[in-house]
Structure formats: C-alpha cells, structure tokens
C-alpha cells in the first residue's frame, strides 16, 4: 500500500528535526522505522551511514540506535520498500513506503518488470495474513475468500484433501478449468499424484511471500497457452541483503472436532419403526439388541501439530533463506492422518556489481498419508441395533442367532464374527468359495461394518516432491537498460500408494487384497528473455519491450499391481485336504498396468509497455505457443492482448493534489488465451492402437498369442509363456484403434474487461471494481461424430462455445487508526459470475440436445445434471415436483408431466438450477488493541444449489419395502432427516406421477413414479455464510522480551460455524452433488511465533 503523502511528511519532519541539530559533534540517532501503509514496525531494516560502513538494523519493534557524524546521511533500506536517504537526526521516525517497482519486479508478473502503479490488468496480490491464519497446511487455505473472482472449494475435511480453484467461473467444459499455477517462475503441471492433490500442496504455506492472481486477458495472455482459467503466481520468501541471520519459529497444536453431524435414528428408534410397520418376527428377529451410534464409532477428536523453522539473512551479495517444516495432521475419522516434512532453500547471490544476479530456489517435501476407507456413508446406513464387535447371541425376538452353513453345520453369529470377520459384526451369508474352511461370507447386500473397515483396510501413500529453479539475470555492462534473463526449472514428484486389505474384510472377503500404485512425473522448464527498458522521468515516459522464448517438457509415468490370495488355511471343498493353492496369489483379480506419457510446449512471446506522461499506460503482448498435443498443421496458437490504463488522478490538476481521492485509475483490456489441457491424453491426433489388458483376451488370432513373464505380466516380445485358459485354449491379445482427430486445435477464450482502481482518504480506503466478459470458442468438447466415421462415437473436437460474465468488487479500509493503541481494518470482496453455454454440437438450434453429467449414486445411478445450450454448465436436469395430497388427503409429492403427453418420462425433465453460486463474498476484519489482535474471516455463497444425495439415498432406505428385506437380511440405519422427510409424504415407491389427461385437460394421479430421486425436490438451495476463522493473538511488548525476540501467541478457532438452510451436513460442495463428504471439522488451535 503506497502512502506517498505520509512518507513525504516523514521526510519533511526528519528534515526539520535535522536542521535544528547540526550543531552537535557526534550525533546519537534514535529512530523507529515503520511501514507507511499500516504503521507496523519494520524489523531488520538496514540503517547505514552513507559513505561509511557504520550501520545497524532495526529491532523487533522497528527501533534503532546509531551514532553518526553530524551532517551524515542515513540510508534506510528494507527488502520490498523504497530505500530512503535521510539526513541524520537525533530522533527519527521513518515511514517506509513499499517500493512498487521492486515489489513488481519480484512478485507481480512473470517475465520481466512492470511497475505495479503502471499495471494495466486486473492483478491482485495478497500477502498471507500472518495474524489471522488458523491452521493452514495447504496454500489453497490462504486463498479462500480473499480475492474477488477466486473461488476455492475444498474436497472435504480429510487431511491433505485437494481443493478446486475457479477464477472467474470455468471457461471450459471437458478441458481443464484449473488455473495455471506458477511457483517461483516455474509453471506447474496440474496433475496430482498419490498424496499430492495439486501443485499448490507442494509448497509449505509458511514459505509463501505473496500470492498474485492474474485474472484478465492482458495480465494472463503473456502466459498464453495455459492461462484461460487465470494464473496464480506464488513467490516464496527470500533473504534480505546485508542483514544478520534472523531465526523464526512458528508452531501450533490444534484439535479438530466433528461439530456438525447427521442425526440418525437410534437402535430403539429402528426397533420402534419396525414395530410401527407391523413387521413380524420373521423380520424383526434380525434386529439386534444394541444402540450403537456408528458415527461416534468412526469419528474422534484429532490432535495435530505444525512446526516451521526458518533462517533468513544475507551477506552483502548473498541473501539467503532456509526453512524446515514438520506437519502432523490427523483426521477426525479414526486412523486417518498425514505427516509431512518440508524443506526449502533460497539464495540470491549477485556478482559483477549487481549486474549478474542469481536466484536459486529449492523446495523438497515428503508426505506420508494414511487414508480412511469410505466409511462416512456406511456410518449412516449401518444398522444401529447391531454391535460393533461380535454378533448377537440372542436376537431381538429372543431366538438364537444362528446361520446355516455348508453341510448342515450351523454357527451362531457370534461364532461367525469371531472366526470369519476378525471379531467384527457383519451380516453373514453362505459362502461360495468351494472351501470347507470358509463356509460363510459377508452379505454383500448389507452395509459393511464401518469400524471393521477402518481396521481391516489400510490405504497409505508415500510421496515426495522437489521443485527447484535457477534464475539468472544479467544487465549488460555499459548498456544497463538491456538485461538478459534465463530461468531453468524442474519439478519432480513421486507418489506410491499401498493398499492392504484383510481377507476378513467386508470389501475383499476371502481373498483379501494387496496392491500398490505409483506415479512419477517431472516437468522441465527453460525460459529466456531479453528486456530493454528506458525511462524519461522528466517527461513521465516509460518504455520497455521484452522478447522471450520458453520450452517446457512434462513427463508422467506410472504402474500398478494388485492381487488377492487364497487364505493360508484354505481347504478343498469337502475339507479332506488343504487347498493346494492355499496362500498363493489368486490370479483372477490381479490387475497390472504400466503407462507413460509426455508432452511439450514451446513458446515465443513478447511484451511492450509504454507509459506516457505518467497518465496513460499501454501494454501489448503477443504469444505464440506450440503444443505437442496437436497435429503439426494446427499446433500453433497465437494469443495477442492489449490493455490500456488511464491514471485519472494524474490527469486532472484538481485530483492530482487532492488527498480525498488518493488513487483513481481506469483499466481496459482485451486479449485471447488458449487451452490445451484437453483431458483426453497427450496424443489425440495419432492413429494408434491400444492393446488389450489382462482379462480382455480372446481365443481367436494367429500371431498375437498372449505371453506373460514369470510374474504374470504381459509381454509382447514373444519371450514369455503363452496364456491358455482353464481348458487349454490359447488366448490372443488384440488391438483397438483409438479415436483420432488430426484437426484438434487450441480452445480460445477471448476476454474483454474494464476495471476501476480507487483509493480515498490517503489510501485508507482502497478498492477496485471490475467487469469482464469472456467468450470461449472452439470449445474442446467431447462430441458425437457421425456413426462410422471414427473409432468412437464421441471424439474430442473443437465444437461449441460458452461465455462467462461477471463483476468483481473489493474494498479494504482502515476504519479506525490510533496507531499502536487501536486499529480496525476491514476487507470485503464480492463476485458475481454467470455462465452460459451458447453452442454444444454441430447443430445450431437443436433444443433437445444435452450432455448428461453429474453422476449420482442413488437408485440405479444416472446423472442429475446436464450441459445444454442456453443454460449454465452442469445445470441440474430434473423432474419437476409439486406438492399435493393423495386420495386419502395425506400430503404427497408429485412428479409433473411437463410436456403433457400423458406420461412422466425422461422428456419431462427440465433445466433447473446451477450448482455454481452466482454471488460469492469474502469478508475479513481485524482489531488491534495494544498487543492484542483479533481477526475474523467469513465467506458467503449465495444461490448455489446442491443435490442432496444423502437424503435421497436415505429416503430409499426408509421405505417399508427397503428398510428391511429378507434378501438384505437386516435393517438399515436411517438419518433423522430422511425419516422425517419420508413421513412428509413420500410413498414407498417414491412419489406419484402427475400426468396430463388429454380427455379432461387436467392433471391426474398417474400412479407410482419410480425416478423420484431425480426430482428437483432433492435439489436444495445451499447458500451459506461461513465463518472460516477467528483468531485472538497477543504480541509481547519488547520490554518483556528485552529486545531479544519478537514473540506472539495466539489462539484460533477455525470453521466455528456455517449458516445455511441446506438440510444436509455441509452446503459447500464443489459440483453440487452431496454424496457423503468427509465432514469439515471445527479446529481449535494454540500457536506461538517467535523471531530472534
């Protein structure tokens, strides 16, 4: 935040003070250095008597003392701030203004230098909020709700869970909608690997200096090919030149609790319900005698801890920073947790009188994850009348709980649980393994015991990543306006997941499962550019031009294997002898696979900046990108942009000297960006064949006999053993031609934008307002092709278009400012975005065409959303329901025959609401009172809709026909919500159809409607207001710490509440389909941060 006026005052003050004190022979200077924008002390600022080596640095409260020659000048400098040269005075109060040029050079845009004040595009840079951050273990946590136009939705509450980031809505349908992420100049590959959900999780949040989000065409177009969905640039912290080593430690310990859980029926409630339904003892005897709360059984309070340590400093020519971090994060589902170690290094040596500057970054990370099996839903569906361990010695009706086994031998449930299910209760059924030692199995139609799953299924992953780059910048000797820049970067990641499942488990009974899957990837980058800059300060003219070349190589490979085994105690079918295969691998289920893929991007680009009369700014960029994903003939995409800025304040004399309006700038921009993250592999234009994998062979062929090596792995070089089936029939592999599209080319998004930056009252109030309109054409879209024309009925093609338009508004204000005594800051941002598909297939006006999307797990599946022309992407495509009464006068829901053809079928579905919120808001506030600080962050989302799949699935289970069937062998657990909803008028077979009777021109009851779970009844308004974080901190006074250190302690509560009318657990679900997400916990945290 610039505050030139204040800086000016400080200079003036210093000057006046100085003039009065020149008489003294030796001058003892005492001073304070503070940030002009927020008044916070600047720690470690360098104070140097010019022309000498006499100097010091400021302490933790920004104070310094220095004895100098009278008339000396002091140079006060600090990284990121404009260096000030002041005449020494006995008492100095130096307020440092941020150095826009320097900040821009380091942070704001890649590929060169742009003065922030001259920026013509919509660029938002934020520094992580050190005061109010709560538990941040992933960089995405820091972005959430902070920037207008940027929406972050986490995948759930599991440690290390990924998040979806959307900038200004999604510009693609089937291609990627993820923004480009650049870490210290290295453009990352967006594909996650085991244990690393996205590139942002490769950086320890405490190493991050700034986030910069580029949103509009002019800012992003320089990244051309990959920037259609915005760019997030992360710059990590660096050392400061000529500063003493500064150590910093931050640590916290936190506890996560499940605060919001689904209310379920107790065992007693289920027994009452069965009685109310008039179930006879044939059914009710399967009820247990217990009242197990399965959610209590799977959730826990989880303790986590996070420690970060860093050293920052610098010799004259070698600033450095090293950091180490350790994070142990436990999930609220039992057994679930993650541990992470991170290390980072940054060196900035400079040579040749700072003409040659290097910037070396290296970041390493290791993560161990243990995932929980998917038990969140099972805990709702599991019968609460049953115990966790053992079986029912007596059933609800008092009878013995005996299950019939092979050969007429009956065992009690208790015995079966102890012998066959590892002690856990599971509903048993007769086995089918021809194995006398394993006569029983789990009843696959019941819900598996979630506690057993937690303990019998182990999913872990080990992942490591390395991100490093070396930048060199050379200002040509004697021609300093021209500098050459090169950047070499690499990121390497490795992840391996391991699965180990007990043969006693519900999921892999009898054979168990052992498996692994690994992925390796690397990404190499080379960028080189030359930039020429010229300033004519007197005329307010600035000119720079840059030309660059970039090369990137993305490589990925992976492999997996997995198998079950015959149990060690396996017998033959009559029990007379051990199974000869006992303990051996069970080859039927074995699944092995190995793959690799790569792609290249080569780019040439340039940029021209011109600032005229310090009033008008012009930026023009042009980029040409070649992608190896497209055929030679349409490989190159050309991405121009132009932006215009007008500093209104500087243009009118009345405004120029007006403090009320401290900034007023208008920005206009236009540009084209591209997309080649097609989501269809790296070789869509190759006519190639895909060879058949295990379990997909056929006994017809000649030369293509299937061979395997000694590990059972397919080999195609003819060296292995031929594969024959159980009857000795030779098997052959086969080739399938892949669909091919040699015409495929870049998807292009054209953006038009306008924005206004403003600042009032000496920049106490600042903000911006932006409008954008983005049209994506040549949409990379998987569309139907004419039958017989290609090897698939759907081929990735460039057909279709959509647009997004929106408004972004953000404002920050210092409401009250009494220096150190009391300060109150407010920040607010609002985003409005609307998305509409304008073309989907070859036909221009085909009203009936839609692309189903949004698969649900309720009923027999199907999809609940559709892409359709005239509507937002992924709009809910549902039956319309109406509330009415049935023949008996009971409340009833009807699915309406919208097209009035006398039946309710697929054609009656209509386009309803969108899962994306049109309006989102973020709100932050902070109070500082002497040493105390209190910060709060909130987010709101208005108008997002969610399909409550948990409720729909639950209702299915409540129905008298389904809560118990003799086949399912027991009762379901029921949620209170589903139970109550059901009694509000759902019929056992769902709803009724309300069909149009042409004879009477009226709607009549058309009988049961079986697709009730596809109705708009379950699409709920899930607008919400969430409190992300509340932090109360205290910073120790320097008198207490005796200037030795800077220390702060804080307590934070994260996710304390969410307000929503949504009836499910959590309204915040990316994609809008609620299928039991891992609950987001409330986390209470105590932390300390010390610098010395």
């Amino acid at each position: 935040m610039k505050n030139n006026l204040l800086s000016f005052r400080a200079v003036l003050l210093a000057f006046l003070l100085m003039t009065g004190m020149t008489a003294f022979a030796q001058l003892s200077v005492q001073g304070t250095v503070t940030d002009a924008a927020n008044g916070e002390p600047i720690i470690g600022a360098s104070v140097l008597e010019i022309g000498t080596t006499n100097g010091t640095i400021t302490d933790f409260d920004g104070n310094f003392e220095l004895t100098v020659q009278p008339g000396a000048k002091l140079a006060i400098s600090y990284m990121g701030y404009k260096t000030q040269e002041l005449d020494a005075a006995a008492s100095m109060n130096v307020r440092m203004g941020e150095d826009a040029e320097l900040l821009d050079e380091v942070v704001v845009v890649g590929y060169g230098v742009v003065k922030k004040n001259d920026a013509t595009g919509s660029v938002t840079a934020i520094k992580p909020d050190e005061m109010n951050k709560g538990l941040q273990t992933n960089a995405t946590d820091m972005l959430s709700g902070k920037i207008a136009g940027v929406n972050v939705t986490s995948a759930g509450g599991a440690p290390g869970a990924g998040a979806t980031i959307r900038i200004r809505g999604g510009s693609s349908l089937s291609a990627s909608n993820d923004p480009l992420i650049i870490i210290d100049g290295l453009a990352m590959d967006n594909n996650g690997i085991q244990g690393v959900s996205n590139p942002l999780s490769m950086v320890n949040p405490s190493d991050i200096e700034t986030f910069t989000v580029l949103k509009d065409a002019s800012a992003t177009a320089i990244y051309g090919s990959r920037a259609s969905n915005g760019v997030i640039i992360i710059t990590t912290k660096k050392g400061a030149q000529g500063s003493k080593p500064k150590f910093s430690y931050e640590g916290n310990v936190s506890m996560s609790n499940l605060v919001n859980r689904m209310e379920t029926l107790s065992g007693n409630d289920i027994r009452d319900y069965a009685a109310a339904l008039g179930h006879n003892t044939t059914k009710t005897k399967w009820l247990g005698l217990y009242n197990t709360d399965w959610q209590d059984q799977i959730y826990r309070a989880a303790i986590s801890t996070d420690h970060n340590f860093s050293v920052t400093g610098g010799t004259k020519n070698m600033p450095y920073r090293f950091s180490l971090g350790y994070t142990m994060l436990n999930g609220i589902v039992k057994t679930n947790g993650m541990q992470r170690v991170t290390a980072s290094m940054n060196l900035n040596p400079s040579f040749l009188d700072k003409h040659l500057v290097f910037n070396l970054n290296a970041k390493g990370m290791y993560i161990y994850n243990r995932y929980a099996p998917d038990v969140v839903g099972a805990a709702l569906n599991m019968d609460p009348t049953q115990p966790v361990m053992g079986g029912n010695p007596k059933r609800y009706d008092g009878s013995d709980a005996t299950i019939k086994g092979a050969g007429g031998v009956n065992l009690t449930e208790q015995q079966i649980a102890e012998t066959y299910f590892g002690g856990y209760y599971q509903r048993a059924a007769r086995g089918n393994y021809s194995d006398a030692a394993w006569p029983y199995t789990v009843n696959r139609n019941t819900t598996g015991n979630p506690v057993a799953a937690l303990n019998q299924e182990k999913y872990t992953s080990n992942s490591g990543s390395f991100v490093g780059n070396l930048e060199a910048d050379y200002k040509i000797h004697g021609f300093e306006d021209l500098h050459l820049h090169a950047n070499f970067g690499a990121d390497y990641s490795y992840g391996k997941s391991l699965t180990s499942i007990s043969p006693y488990s519900f999921s892999n009974f009898y054979y168990g499962w052992e498996g692994w899957e690994e992925t390796k990837k690397y990404n190499l980058l080379f960028t080189a550019y030359a930039q020429y800059m010229k300033d004519w300060d007197d005329a307010g003219q600035h000119f720079d031009i840059m030309a660059a070349y970039e090369w990137q190589h993305f490589y990925r490979d992976g492999a997996r294997d997995g198998w079950g085994s015959y149990p060690a105690n396996s017998m033959n079918s009559d029990g007379s002898a051990a199974n000869p295969k006992a303990g051996q691998m069970y080859e039927q289920g074995r699944s092995q696979y190995k793959w690799m893929t790569e792609n290249y991007l080569v780019s040439f680009f340039g940029r021209l900046n011109w600032t005229g009369w310090n009033q008008i700014m012009l930026t023009a960029t042009f980029r040409a990108d070649g992608s190896s994903r497209f055929h030679k003939n349409n490989r190159w995409g050309f991405f121009p942009s132009v932006a215009l800025g007008w500093k209104i304040k500087e243009s009118f004399a009345a405004l120029r000297d007006n403090n009320t309006v401290s900034e007023l700038k208008l920005r206009l921009n236009y540009g084209i960006t591209g997309q080649q993250e097609i989501g269809q592999g790296d070789y869509p234009y190759f006519a190639s064949y895909y060879v058949s994998q295990p379990h997909a062979y056929y006994p017809v062929g000649n030369g293509n006999v299937m061979m395997v090596d000694e590990n059972g792995k397919a080999v195609y070089d003819g060296s292995g053993t031929p594969v024959v089936d159980g009857d000795g029939l030779a098997l052959y592999y086969n080739y399938r031609p892949d669909a091919v599209n040699t015409e495929l080319t870049w998807e292009k998004t054209t953006t038009y934008g306008a924005g206004l930056d403003f600042g009032f009252l000496n920049s106490r109030i600042t903000g911006s307002l932006d409008y954008y309109y983005r049209v994506t054409s040549d949409l990379i879209n998987v569309v139907n092709v004419p039958a017989g024309a290609n090897f698939r009925n759907k081929v990735v093609s460039n057909i279709g278009s959509l647009f997004n338009q929106g408004v972004e508004f953000s404002i920050n204000a210092v409401v009250l400012d009494y220096g150190k005594r009391f300060k109150w800051d407010l920040g607010y941002n609002l985003t409005y975005n609307m998305n509409k598909i304008t073309k989907l297939n070859a036909s221009d006006n085909d009203d009936s065409y839609y692309v189903p999307t949004g698969g649900i797990s309720v009923g027999t599946g199907g999809s609940i959303q559709a892409h359709k022309v005239g509507y937002a992407a992924s709009t809910f495509y549902v039956y319309k329901t109406e509330k009415g009464v049935d023949a008996k006068g009971n409340p009833m829901y009807y699915a309406v025959d919208l097209n009035q053809d006398g039946q309710v079928n697929g054609e009656d579905r209509y386009m309803y609401k969108s899962p994306m919120a049109p309006v989102t808001m973020g709100f932050q506030t902070k109070f500082q009172f002497y040493g105390f600080d209190l910060g709060m962050t909130f987010r709101a989302s208005i108008g997002n809709y969610v399909y409550n799949g948990v409720l729909a699935g639950g209702i299915y289970n409540v129905a008298p026909d389904n809560v118990y069937t003799n086949l399912n062998g027991g009762y379901y657990g029921l949620t209170r919500n589903a139970y109550n909803t059901y009694w509000r008028g759902m019929k056992s077979d769902g709803m009724s159809a309300l069909v149009w009777d042409a004879a009477t021109n009226a709607y009549v009851d058309g009988g049961a409607f079986s697709d009730w779970f596809l109705t708009d009844y379950f699409v709920e308004n899930a607008s919400f207001f969430r409190c992300d974080n509340i932090t109360l901190g205290y910073t120790f006074d320097q008198k207490v710490t005796k200037n030795k250190c800077h220390a702060r302690i804080y307590a934070s509560v994260q996710n304390p509440f969410v307000i929503s009318s949504y009836s499910g657990l959590d309204p915040e679900i990316y994609g809008g389909i609620d299928n039991n997400i891992y609950p987001r916990s409330m986390t209470t945290l105590l932390g300390v941060s010390v610098q010395f």
Binding site: K404, D682, A696, Y732, A787, F791
Partner: protein, 553 residues
Amino acid sequence: MKTIGKYLVCVGVALFGLTACVQDLDVEPQDENKILDFNQDAVFSKCYATLALTGQSGPAGSGDVDDIDEGTSAFIRMVWELQEFPTDECWVGWNDPGLPEIRTMKWNSLNQLVQGLYYRLYFNITLCNHFLENASEEGDGANQIAEVRFLRAFNYYYLLDMYGNVPFADKVNAQKKPQYTRVQLFNWLEDELKDLENKLPATRTNDFRVDVYAAKMLLARLYLNAEVYTGTAQWQKAADYAKEVMDGPHKLHTTSLGGVYTPYQEMFMGDNYRVVGGAAGEGLLNIYQDGIYAQAWGGSTFLVAAARDKNVYVNPATSEGWAGYRCSPEFIEKWVALDQTPFILKNEFDMPAQLGDDRAIICSVLNTGAPVVTPDPEITTADSIKPRGSAGSSFYDSWSMLKWTGRYIENPLGEDITVTPHGPQFPDTDVPFMRAGEAYMTYAEAQFRLGNTAAAATAIQALRDRAHNTQTFTVDEDFLLDEWSREFFAEGRRRIDLVRFGKFAGPTADYHWEGRGGNTSDQGLVMMDAKYNIYPIPESDIVAGGLTQNEGY
C-alpha cells in the same frame, strides 16, 4: 567488432537451440500400450472380441462405447435387452437409465439404450471396415477377411432389424455416410452374404470363428423376415437356406454329455463349448466367455447373474446375483396355466420334469419346496411353488429364468460344485448367438407359410424330441409364435418374432402382455403405434450425421 562477433555467436547458438526445441513438439507415443502399426492378427482378434468384451481391460475400465455404462455396452447384453425387455417373455425391475422406457415400450430417440446399441454396432462395423481396409490375404488372411466381412454383415443385420434406415459405411473416414433405406440395406446384406457363401471356410478351425453355415443361417433369418424388412415375403428362400443348415455339419445336440443335465440345458452351461463348439457343434456363432481371461459384465455374466438374486440361488458358479429379469406371466402361460396347482420341486432344475419339457428351465427360488435351494437361512419355509407373474418391483414377484448358468456339465444338481469354474465371479458360459436349432424353427415357420404344415411339424418334432416333450401339437400361427419362445427364450430374439407375426406394435398387434405400453396384464390391451416396430435413430446421430429420423419418431 569483437563484441558484435560474440553476440552473433550467441544468437547463432540460441537459434540452433530454439530450432531443436521446436522439434520436440514432434512427439511419438512411448507408452507400451499404445501402438502405431497395424497388426492384422491383433485387429482381427478384436473384430471377434467385440462380440464378447466391452473394451480393452476386462471386465471394465477402457470401454469401446461412450455415453453408456461399460458393462451395459456389451454386444450381447445390448442386443438382448432391446430384443427381450419390450416383449412378452420377461420383465425387469431395474430402473437403469432408459430401461423402464424399453420395458414399457415408451422409448424415444434420446433413449440411452437405443443409443448404446446403435453405437456398439457402429463401433464394431467401423473396426471391421478398418481391418478390411488394411488386411492382406497372405496366410490366413483370406479367411480372416471373409470372416470379418461376415461379422460386419452380422452387425449390419441388427441395424437393419432394429433401426431400419441407417447410414452405411464401408470405409473409415469423415466423409458423409449415405443413409440407406431398409430395403437398400437388406439388398446389400443379401448380396454380401451370398458372396461370402463362396468365401467363408466350409469348416471352422476354432470353436469361436465362423464357417459358411453362419452366413447361410443369417441369410435364412434375413429371408424369414424379408416381409418385415422389404415388404416382400421370401419364405421359400428362408426354407432353402434353413434346410442347408439343417443338412450341414452342425447338428442338434441331442445326447447328454455329462449324464446329469438334459442336452438342451447343456447348451447353456459353463463348459458348453463342448456341445456348441467343435466342427459338429450346434452353435453357429459362439461367443467366448471366460472367468479369468475374457471378463465382461454384459456377456454370460449378465445372462446368469441378472436372472438370479445373489443370496437366493442355486449355486450357478458365480458370486454375482443382480435380481434383474424374470418371467412375465404371459411367458409362464406358454408352459402352464397360472391357476395351476402348486408344484413341489426337488431342485431348481426340476421344473422341466414337472412340465414335461427340458426347455422349461424356469423356477421360483423363493417359495420352493424342500430341498431348499438357497443359502439364506431365512428362506426355509416349505411353501410350495405357484405359477405367478406380476410386474411388481420385487424380483420375487415372478419366477426366474434359470436357463443360463455357470455350472459345469458334470456338476451334480444341488448346492455343491465338484468341477470348479475358472473363476468364481464371471461364468465361463459361452454364448451360442446363432445355433442350429434356429434353422429348424425357421424351416418350420417358412414351410408353414408356404402351406406345408407337415414339413413344419416334422422340424418342430425334432426340437421337441430333443427336449423330451411328448405332448401332441398342432401347427398354427399362435403355436409357432409360442414355440419360438419356448425354444429360444432368453436368447435375445423375441422381438423379431413378435414383429414378424404382427404382434409387437401397430394395428394388428392385439396381443397384450405385462408392461406393454405401461399397462399391467389385467389392465388390458394398449394399442401401440406401428412406429415401435423399429427403434428410432439416436438423436445424437440425427444431428451429427445429418440423418432423417424413422417415421413417427
């Protein structure tokens, strides 16, 4: 000058580097699963495999057809569902997308199953075209080419039968495909198959490849339905080709191989390749299935598992039981009156004995008498079994069709398995998608239409003898239509027969069955528009291929 020289060198080096890097864009796939060169044998193998498998990894994971669940996308299952579910033979309680509309004859051009089969057939045809464009006649090549031409014709036959007026492609390219009328396609098929009579081998070298009799059988089927397809009946040609098959090497399987099951039952069991395969086997086009190496959810796994419930079945040698299709009341009535006194059964295969026909492999598994055919401890009630049938949502509202099983020929009746199938989940049961029995029924019907009732009766008697059915019968239209069902139920052809007899849809179709038009049996007849005699062209191809929709849709 010196400096300039240095710069020039630098620029030169840089340009050279850039050029090299631009060449990096010319990638070639390095993945060992992705192959750039045509391999005749491997593509030939795929042409056959499309009948059995749904993609490149079994049982699922890399499907051939888009916009449909891969398990459902199987050739067998798609043809089967569209030929069986809208008919009087069976009822399915599933609500898979598009299925309720198929069951109740309310489909439209957006129906996912209508679309799924269409694209499955065109995928297979495109693959065959690709093979034929690239194959050479060397070695086995001439046979391979003839067989792939047959496979293409076989796929086109189902387009002719179910969709009528479809685009015709014999090359793989983006050029607009002409939309053939049904008559045009019929003529092409007739010419193609007749040409293949001289090109296909007389004897097959492998149980799962075809010989010339497959083409003759398909010609017989084409002529039998010629009136439906072209408006002109060709009964004599149907009879002639059927006779050629009857006189050919593929004989009715009449003697039980294992001595446990009837010969008829043995054709639908786990090791049925022993009776439908071989040079003299009854199968004319056998589709291979294997519990380990050829896994698919839509092959015999579907046929076996969908007819049973997981927890209530006699061990069919699969762990799957999906509670899907079961008998309609109209189908049960082809064997026994619905008000018949309850039966007491010895086992699941006891119903044929009770009804005096080996083919009546139907049975309820819920209310069976002892010995109990279920592992579920609850179902021990010794209720006797009553014929019944209703379109309720429960699988137990009717009897099951137990014709398809994964058990082996030597396995004893009852619960235990002595010969273990190759895998516990996917049955090894191969699917004879055309078998010699069809020639007998075709011959019988064609002769009846030509007025030779006696010749018809003789052919039918051969099938009844094999089924140990000693009941007397009179050949008339109703009898023939019922007999087609008794011989071929659950083999994926019922719709063809109902259409040919004018009973499916249209003004003459005065035959009502459960679910037809959405009505239950007691609600009575619903007149179905004649358009339902063929399926619509999927909307997606109307748009993409610029096609004209079938009349009425």
